[in-house]
């Protein structure tokens, strides 16, 4: 597992995190090259089908990052993204998806160092988790009905969303 290099995609908003990642470059900070950055106008634009599609394309992990709360260029797009993530995370948990592989965070245009840290930490974390080869199994797993009791009685975990 030592030589495993995780594949990481990043969905970022144009106004904060993309600019923040630019700043990381301008400040010549270093981070692992495992990440591919995809530019969106706003995190509110990020359809979670795109998130699924990214895992379908073979990534091991995904960073979703936008402006800090109240700093959204479009006033409220990041709140929509956050709210959608709260709901979507539950759905993914039910499906058996490993939600530890999605890193939801805020990086502003002034936080070049934070971006480097976010990527570095995500890569470290994914190295621990290993390649996400189970994803294909989830896709192929048939839904069983009735759902077993464990799934039905599962406690809704309320974890802090903002990291």
């Amino acid at each position: 597992m030592e030589d495993f290099e995780p594949k990481l995609a990043a969905f970022v908003c144009n106004w904060c995190t993309y600019a923040g990642a630019d700043l990381t470059g301008t400040s010549r900070m270093k981070y692992p090259s495992n990440v591919r950055i995809l530019r969106f106008p706003c995190t509110g634009r990020i359809d979670f089908m795109l998130v699924m599609k990214a895992f379908d394309s073979g990534v091991d992990g995904l960073i979703v990052s936008g402006c800090h709360p109240n700093d959204c260029h479009y006033t409220s797009g990041n709140f929509h993204a956050q709210r959608r993530w709260v709901v979507f995370k539950e759905v993914l948990d039910i499906m058996g998806f490993d939600t530890r592989r999605i890193f939801f965070t805020w990086v502003s245009a002034a936080e070049g160092a934070k971006w480097a840290k976010v990527v570095t930490d995500a890569v470290e974390e994914l190295k621990k988790l290993g390649p996400y080869s189970e994803f294909k199994k989830i896709l192929l797993k048939k839904l069983q009905f009735p759902l077993d009791n464990k799934t039905a009685d599962r406690e809704i975990k309320t974890e802090p969303v903002i990291s």
Binding site: K7, A9, S33, P41
Partner: protein, 666 residues
């Protein structure tokens, strides 16, 4: 068929030192759909751009990917180059291989591979790009100036003198703001009213300025160049057109014991009142919260009976008018911290502990004491005054970390004025640091200390209490080995912190602009865009952005005005066509939009409306969403919300984004 041209920039050594640009160009030529690929030292230079233009013409390219720096840097440059060669600029995309690759990774095969992969993703995306046309929107050449203080007055006059219409909205009965309340101004000691009132009159008489006093902004919709504002004209109960301001009404009004806001509570006013004698417009209004007629259901009406011009009408109601404007200058000003914010200084308990603004009124020739410094408690001239700078400011414990900026100067001015008016008096100033960083400012403070013999003590005051009719000020002198100091004072003046208006947050929300943690309104960039906000067409002036003195407020007013006139110098604005649209089929009732209209509440710009599709008999056959391209700013939140992907955003369509994601490869 795609004929994509790929251009890889070395950016001198910036990219080429870690990425093997030549091999990227070579590999790129093998991507399906790429018909031309080249690397060059400086793509953004003139010869570099010519290479792109020539290739577009020669190879009949229908898409361009420039792998260079961040699109936030040079996307407009390369799109313009493409447009010059006859290619729709929106068929050009940039792959960021500098900031996101060469600068953050070491030299090596991996970095080169990543650069190639970034490029390949963009090639896949550009294959799905469509031709887009920029959106042209007209500009309404009328500006709204919110607030009639000195910053607002300056902005309004500058815009009006440039030949554009200005609507000034002032919440009080008179314009003038805080500056009208001041006695003299530092560092020249010229009288504040003398320099301000002529400008106030100019505003009222200017043919291009419409003044809405006693009015408030109700809401603002629209976008740069095309705002729609609703203004609430509060009921004045006096018809300003008929009223001659003879003064009978306010001299006969029986309600005489209302604390006068203009004199900071140091005198009383009537329920029908003109805030101060030099008010503009100089017409009275009735304060309906205090007037007996309104409080006690029609029992009084003295002013109406006595008014010789019959200008008083109790039946008038708040009126809401709608206006169109192209730009907004926000100059809503500030407040100072007062009342019970300083329990340790006894403010609110001891009448003779006052704030800086109250001292201004005491020192003002038009103030309640006609310019004589008298104690509010017994009217005696104080023989010892203690001034305390930084009351609240720069104090984490009070929640105000920032410097209020003007207190050092006005405290020096207060001490000087007091000494000028009462030579035998003793003045002490407690300060933390003296921040006198303006033209002739430090000289002014030195004059106060050296010529006017004001005693400056570096240290803070811990407590003030009353004893034998004196206010005992207990402090410390940090320059004298932190020795405790005790002064028996007759009056204490607190240079209280400047804070944002209490309604600053709601104003910001109405205008869709940002504010900081202290509720001061946020500029777009602290250094390079100090008067613009993040919302196009809305500008800031004066102390609503941060504490400012008069010269700074005036210059920011002028700066905001120049930004407005730049905006108004065009008849049309060009907007990026990156907006949402609803897929429509023909005939429209077969559109995939089901009319769930989930997109309407999520749109932050109210750009989505309900549209009814009718048949020839006028019956509604289908309801769909409709995007107003003029209002849409292109965030795409609606796209993610749409259940059946009927709404899409140009430039970041589902097709483009899914293609980009599916092109992920490691």
């Amino acid at each position: 068929m795609s004929r994509i041209g790929v251009f890889i920039c070395h950016c001198g050594e910036n990219i080429a030192s870690t990425v093997d640009c030549e091999s990227v160009a070579k590999s790129a030529s093998e991507i399906p759909g790429v018909s031309f690929s080249i690397d060059y030292k400086y793509m953004c230079s003139d010869p570099g751009q010519s290479k792109i233009k020539n290739a577009i013409i020669e190879h009949k390219l229908n898409g361009v990917v420039v792998a260079a720096c961040s699109p936030r840097m040079h996307e407009p440059t390369f799109r313009k180059a493409c447009a010059e060669a006859g290619l729709n600029p929106y068929l050009c995309e940039m792959a960021n291989i500098r900031e996101h690759c060469s600068w953050v990774h070491p030299k090596g095969e991996e970095t080169t591979f990543k650069a190639f992969e970034i490029l390949r993703m963009l090639v896949e995306k550009v294959k799905r790009n469509t031709k887009l046309l920029p959106i042209k929107v007209p500009v309404t050449k009328t500006a709204i100036v919110l607030g009639g203080g000195v910053a607002g007055i300056q902005a309004a006059l500058d815009i009006a003198n440039a030949g554009h219409k200005v609507l000034m909205i002032e919440k009080d009965p008179s314009i003038g703001g805080h500056m009208a309340m001041l006695s003299e101004t530092f560092p020249t000691l010229d009288c504040s009213q003398c320099i301000l009132t002529p400008r106030m009159v100019e505003v009222a008489q200017h043919p291009n300025i419409t003044l809405y006093n006693y009015a408030e902004l109700e809401s603002l919709d629209g976008f740069i160049g095309n705002f729609k504002a609703r203004i609430r004209l509060k009921a004045k109960s006096v018809d300003p057109k008929i009223c001659t301001a003879c003064g009978v009404c306010w001299s006969k009004c029986p309600v005489k014991k209302i604390p006068d806001e203009f004199n900071t509570g140091l005198s009383k006013r009537t329920a029908i009142y003109v805030p101060f004698p030099q008010a503009v417009p100089n017409k009275p209004v009735i304060d309906r919260t205090q007037c007996t007629y309104f409080v006690k259901n029609g029992k009084c009406g003295v002013c109406k009976k006595l008014c010789p011009a019959s200008a008083i009408d109790f039946e008038t109601k708040d009126e809401i008018i709608e206006v169109n404007a192209g730009a907004v200058v926000v100059a809503t000003g500030f407040e100072i911290k007062h009342t019970d914010f300083f329990p340790e200084y006894g403010y609110g308990r001891y009448k003779d502990v006052i704030d800086g603004l109250q001292f201004e009124r005491l020192a003002s020739a038009s103030g309640p004491t006609l310019g004589e410094i008298k104690r509010p408690s017994d009217g005696k001239v104080p023989e010892t005054i203690v001034f305390i700078a930084c009351a609240g400011s720069r104090d984490k414990a009070k929640g105000i970390e920032y410097c209020s900026k003007i207190c050092c100067m006005y405290t020096a001015k207060h001490a000087m004025l007091y000494k000028h008016k009462f030579h035998e008096g003793k003045a002490y100033v407690f300060y933390i640091d003296i921040r006198a960083n303006g033209k002739n400012y430090d000289e002014f403070v030195r004059r106060t200390i050296e010529e006017d013999d004001v005693n400056y003590i570096r240290g803070r005051v811990s407590r003030i209490y009353e004893s034998n009719g004196k206010l005992i000020v207990k402090g410390v002198d940090t320059l004298l080995n932190a020795q405790p100091v005790e002064i028996e004072a007759d009056m204490v003046v607190l240079a209280t912190a400047i804070v944002a208006n209490a309604d600053s947050e709601s104003v910001a929300q109405k205008l869709h602009i940002g504010y900081d943690k202290h509720h001061f309104l946020s500029e777009a960039h602290p250094k390079l865009r100090p008067v613009e906000t993040n919302t196009g067409g809305i500008f800031l002036a004066g102390a609503c952005q941060a504490p400012k003195d008069i010269p700074e407020s005036v210059s920011q007013g002028s700066a905001a005005a120049s930004k407005v006139t730049i905006l108004f110098s065009n008849d049309e604005l060009t907007r990026e066509p990156q907006v949402a649209f609803v897929n429509r089929t023909f005939p429209p009732q077969y559109s995939s939009c089901t009319g769930c209209l989930l997109c309407i509440p999520v749109c932050p710009y109210k750009a989505i409306e309900k549209e009814e599709i009718k048949n020839r008999n006028g019956e509604v056959v289908k309801t769909v969403a409709y995007v107003n391209g003029g209002l849409c700013q292109g965030c795409g939140t609606c796209v993610a919300f749409c259940r059946n992907k009927s709404i899409d955003i140009q430039g970041f369509t589902n097709e483009q984004m899914f293609t980009e994601v599916m092109a992920l490869n490691f």
